[in-house]
Amino acid sequence: MFNLIRKDIVLHKKTLMILLPILLVYLLLGTSSIWVGIVFCIAIIMGVFSSDEKSTIHILLNSLPYTRKQIVSSKYIGVFLFTFIVVFTIFIGNLMIHREIIPWEDLLFIFGIVMVLTALAFPFSYKFKSQYLLVASLVLFAIYMIIVNLFIKNLNDRIREFVQALLNLQSHQLYLSIGFSVIALYVCSWLLSIRIYKNKVF
């Protein structure tokens, strides 16, 4: 299975080589590292995912000595690896550029959000295709905008405040319970994707 993850790295080596320096540029400009981190993680992870989506590639991977479970699992484990690469770059970048150490809560927060987003995106993409993900997220975005404009005008501020409050909280118990919920969601999504992929016809 680690061969499958290695395959993703070999295939996307060039993309990473281009994206990571750009990530540093963003840090240099002083953009919020949490926000940039999440966007880069999702872009890389979904890029890797979509390169395996052609039916001929499914035929290739399934004809090689791998099980379907392994093929799906490699993607779920890969998420950690790619998030780690991005987070590590941010950490080092911040240290070099701003001479400051990013609080570990921020880094964990990136991990958490990326896990939640991929936990939602992967089963959807296995069932349909990741290209429809864009459509789905545009629909969600429209709904969000409608809510912001019509119902809760200060939703953006509230979310920002909520995130700030969350990151400033010192309650370990809360972190732990959020952490567990994220992991539970991730594991459920993982199992669901395996189930969807087992019944897939190429």
Binding site: N3, R6, K7, V10, L11, S51, T56, I57, I59, L60, N62, S63, L64, P65, Y66, T67, V201, F202
Partner: protein
């Protein structure tokens, strides 16, 4: 004789197509050609053999093992070639090798480079720039570089020029020399089979018609040509199907000796080509539906 592939009572249905109670066996150490018209179920059968599809009912065993418990073990021992490009397009053959190599325990770099050299394949050109023939050679190189015991190919000769088709058949022929390997390949170019196949498996509309040794087909089947006056209710029953014209009839029988006894010197009895057999079987099927 040992069977490498065994399908027993396999059912698989999709919208508008089904494999019905398909049972067949493929013998170890031989080349089996897999024939049938378009939509007969060849690709579906091959996908079932590769576990790319699961049967609705019935059992499939490869090397005497089932996919449920031994999936990786089985796939380690299979080399596969498909008629379309199944590799990543934006990589070179060298990178593709890097990706595939770690999947196989028995990967052999020397063998890989031997075939790359024999086929004159460029290692550092992107796969999407490969021609159909190069693509096939690349697939074959990957399929042959891990000492697979069973080579499964779906239409490997389609779209290839005649000279390369001959070259390919020679390579396959050489592979068979040690008697340990088994080749199973589908084709609709039946002339390929006369050159290399030991057995022929014929399916039609999702049903297994026969698996026979190639010489056995010549012994059993015959094309009978004669005047229309030879046909009556009884004699017509001897044939799988009949093509009548103003000048006479042409028909296929699955019992050459009987046909020889019945028609004796009155009709012409000829050796059928595989195409004849496919054509008349299809026609016969339509007639009785």
């Amino acid at each position: 004789m040992e069977n490498v592939i065994e399908l027993q009572h396999v059912h698989k249905s999709f919208d508008g197509f089904q494999l019905n109670n398909l049972s067949m066996t493929i013998k170890k150490g031989f080349v089996t050609g897999f024939i049938g018209g378009n939509g007969a179920g060849k690709s579906t059968t091959i996908k079932l053999m590769m576990n790319l599809l699961q049967p609705d009912r019935g059992t499939i065993s490869i090397f005497g093992l089932n996919y449920k418990d031994h999936e990786k073990e089985i796939k380690q021992r299979i080399g596969f070639v498909f008629d379309e490009n199944i590799f990543y397009e934006n990589v070179t053959l060298a990178e593709m090798k890097k990706i595939i190599k770690p999947a196989y325990v028995n990967w052999d770099d020397n063998l890989f480079h031997y075939y790359v050299k024999t086929f004159e394949l460029p290692l550092n050109k992107k796969i999407k720039s490969f021609s159909k023939g190069m693509m096939m050679k690349a697939s074959l190189t990957i399929a042959l570089s891990h000492h697979a015991e069973l080579i499964i190919m779906d239409e490997p000769t389609s779209g290839l020029d005649p000279s390369f088709r001959r070259e390919l058949l020679d390579i396959l022929h050489n592979l068979m020399q040690d008697g340990e390997k088994t080749i199973f390949f589908s084709t609709h170019l039946t002339t390929d089979l006369d050159r290399i196949a030991d057995y022929i498996t014929f399916i039609h509309k999702g049903k297994h018609i026969f698996t026979k040794e190639i010489y056995q087909i010549e012994e059993e089947y015959a094309i009978v040509k004669g005047g229309i006056e030879l046909l009556d209710k009884d004699t017509e029953r001897e044939f799988i199907s009949i093509r009548k014209s103003n000048h006479g009839f042409e028909a296929l029988t699955a019992n050459k000796t009987r046909a020889e006894n019945i028609f004796g010197g009155m009709a012409l009895i000829e050796k059928p080509t595989l195409e004849d057999i496919m054509f008349y079987t299809k026609k016969g099927e339509e007639h009785y539906v």
